[in-house]
Subunit: 504 residues, 2 copies
Amino acid sequence: MPRALQELKQRLAEIVDLGKVAGLLAWDQRTMMAPAGAPARAEQLATVTRIAHEKFVSEEIGRLLEELRPYEESLDYDSDAASLIRMTRRDYEKARLVPTELRAEMSRSAAIALSVWDEARETSDFGLFLPHLERNVELRRRYVACFAKAQEDYDLLLDDYEPGMTTAEVRAVFHELKAGLVPLIAEIAERADAVDDSCLRGSFPVERQQAFERKVLESFGFSPRSWRIDETVHPFASSMSSDDIRLTTRHHETDLSAIFATMHEFGHGLYEHGVDRALERTPLARGASLGLHESQSRMWENLIGRGRPFWRRFYPELQEAFPEQLGSVDLETFYRAINKVQPSLIRIEADEATYNLHIVLRFELEQEMLAGRVALADLPEVWNMRMREYLGVDVPDDAHGVLQDMHWAGGSIGYFPTYSLGNIVSAQIWERLGADLPDLDEQIERGELGPLREWLRERLHRHGRKFMPKETLERVVGGPIDPRPYLRYLRSKLGEIYGLPGSR
Amino acid sequence: MPRALQELKQRLAEIVDLGKVAGLLAWDQRTMMAPAGAPARAEQLATVTRIAHEKFVSEEIGRLLEELRPYEESLDYDSDAASLIRMTRRDYEKARLVPTELRAEMSRSAAIALSVWDEARETSDFGLFLPHLERNVELRRRYVACFAKAQEDYDLLLDDYEPGMTTAEVRAVFHELKAGLVPLIAEIAERADAVDDSCLRGSFPVERQQAFERKVLESFGFSPRSWRIDETVHPFASSMSSDDIRLTTRHHETDLSAIFATMHEFGHGLYEHGVDRALERTPLARGASLGLHESQSRMWENLIGRGRPFWRRFYPELQEAFPEQLGSVDLETFYRAINKVQPSLIRIEADEATYNLHIVLRFELEQEMLAGRVALADLPEVWNMRMREYLGVDVPDDAHGVLQDMHWAGGSIGYFPTYSLGNIVSAQIWERLGADLPDLDEQIERGELGPLREWLRERLHRHGRKFMPKETLERVVGGPIDPRPYLRYLRSKLGEIYGLPGSR
């Protein structure tokens, strides 16, 4: 290994360590920290982010990247070293345009905004949150201004979550997605009564939910040697290393939504856990993009977790856990209930079809917020109006409206579209999986998830962030992003459940 | 404020942030982290420690300290600014002699050793731990070699925990302590049967212990806004800021030792919580030394927590929690039981008198380990021999012997003596407290701990680390360290319990 590469790796390892440390500071804030710890935590996050940024944008990293150019060109494009140099160069060219103080301030403000959001959401008080949202948006505008002008300002934010994808591309994909979804949802709405999901509401003691989820997770591959799961207000997954995976979830006594949230976060965790250990402590040791990450979480949540094979295996155990609620509900009724399509208020509890309309709404709003086309003070009003327009639901209060998600509090603007990109990609991967593992359904039903995990690891997870998202997707499914498999999947699954014309 | 002071404070704030971050990494490792996360965690700790050290020993800090000399001399010695400059200069002059790589390696090795120790302790396998202990000791020798020769090598380690105190001074204090304790323990041994502590052994469901401790902690001043408490293998307290206090404890179904461990850690937490907020994000925002820290933990554990007034208030609630075990045990029997003097294997469960012999043993061994006068491979044998000699007990296995404490795994050599220093100081403070708050016992019995907390805050806690430990002690008790109040306290309390001649 050339000395310059050795030095680059050593410097990057330190920066990656700091990134993971920032991840722990955030995880701890969301799961463990006493509330009065928030102001100091914001400073700590700012300090760690500032130092990591400073170290990354240093002249030395630039010099090493230059020095390594000929070496990189001599290497196989797919090699770890070539990928490391190539991806680091891209990151570097972006990061060095951002002043360290701005980067630190984005971190500090987000940490403060998150702790205020907790309270604002609890009391449904948008006014309390507004100044912090204003600060976050203002900082993103300053961030955007650091770069050469893109086709659209939003491109520059989106690129942090879905590198290489433009707003126009997302818009085109979402247009096709919407064109398929809106009539499907309308057809289903005419048969809304065909599915009764009353069995999902009632009393589900949290400890019993947790015990059930634990069994599910263990069958998926969760092991306490490398994983943990905790409660939080807004579930997320993170990792302090490939062998230190942190899932979070949130339980309600009155429904079973946590089961799906838990499976969702497991998908994220498995991706991080599956990265080749040779990439540990490099910037490649994580998912290729949030879209690809969401393809994994949404796959475990929906394609597996809302599928018949999975419940053929696990429904008897669920019935055992909640005999009063589910003892006399048969598998088919339960399966239909968890797949009921019904416009609703909360994104993370939405069904697979209407979910994407929640995303479209946020994607549009974010562009308008960034451009100043919507005044932030008016957000609740605009939110509620659009919810009525897109989903036909009335928002009773901001806790169930504009305050429901933590993303804007955490400063993540440009993140939301990746959820629907993930939905789309999950179905593309699923089609490919079905071709390679023809008895996948039977394996799931038998609880044999080894071959599925191995396929995902071999085809996707182990590469981490070695390639750009588009390259990664091309390698996994052999083509670019395409909403058609997802629309086919939904029409087939929901068509059968609702007895739509033309369904099998 | 001069510009140089402003700059110094800004630089120190960043370094303090990193210290707190390292604290979180360690806390998380001990309470939350999945075991397979250990290797990456060790790197993260090393990185954070390395950067903090690098930043602290920089030329700029030295230049600022020089520049601030005249300003410091113009200030009141007691002022925050003068203390900050003075104490930082002392730290700086020490730290800049230590190579950054050594500092990072001490951190990395300790993190790895801690995770191995967990397993070694569980399986009572000293051989597994030995190479890591060797590494830790070797690194401390290299650390000692960084400094100008002291009277004794151990002085240089001790100074990290009890700044300004020498091994010779500790030896003298311990000599006096031992001279008082050994005859007291012998006298008690002759009346060993006078106290029956069988009521403390049995079945005490952990959740009920936790609920009881929660009530105790809340009456002490624990509030979930700024505090939390978690389970761990070896209890400790730490803080991520003055408003983010983390206690840990450990429960056994078969005894009530956790109650005292919890009160102990509370004492540490209260000290950190009581530091003047004006010192936040400075290196002064923590206890003056570990001896003073232990004076607080041992005070809450023993002078309060093993006292009659406290149990007059809380014993009925404890009986309610464990009616089968304690329902028919009267307060006096219980009080005598929790104060029974009986040589035993485990330091943290030892009674107030024999506890100090555990410390003397460790203090002597540490000096021998550092000097190479005892081969580390022989430690178990030497440990067991001395336990027999000092305490008259037979060590059944290393888990109950040399592997019981986490300190050496964590690289802390020179820490142990501070426990007995703390015992001694706690009694000095208690005498002074009794003079200032003549109805302290009645207040404790009524659960009115406000005046006690306020006295401690005003006299000790708020100053944080503004003064050297000796100066701090002088301010609180008006004199130097003195074992006599502690010996008086023990002789009076235990004399009464055991009916020793000359006791009231």
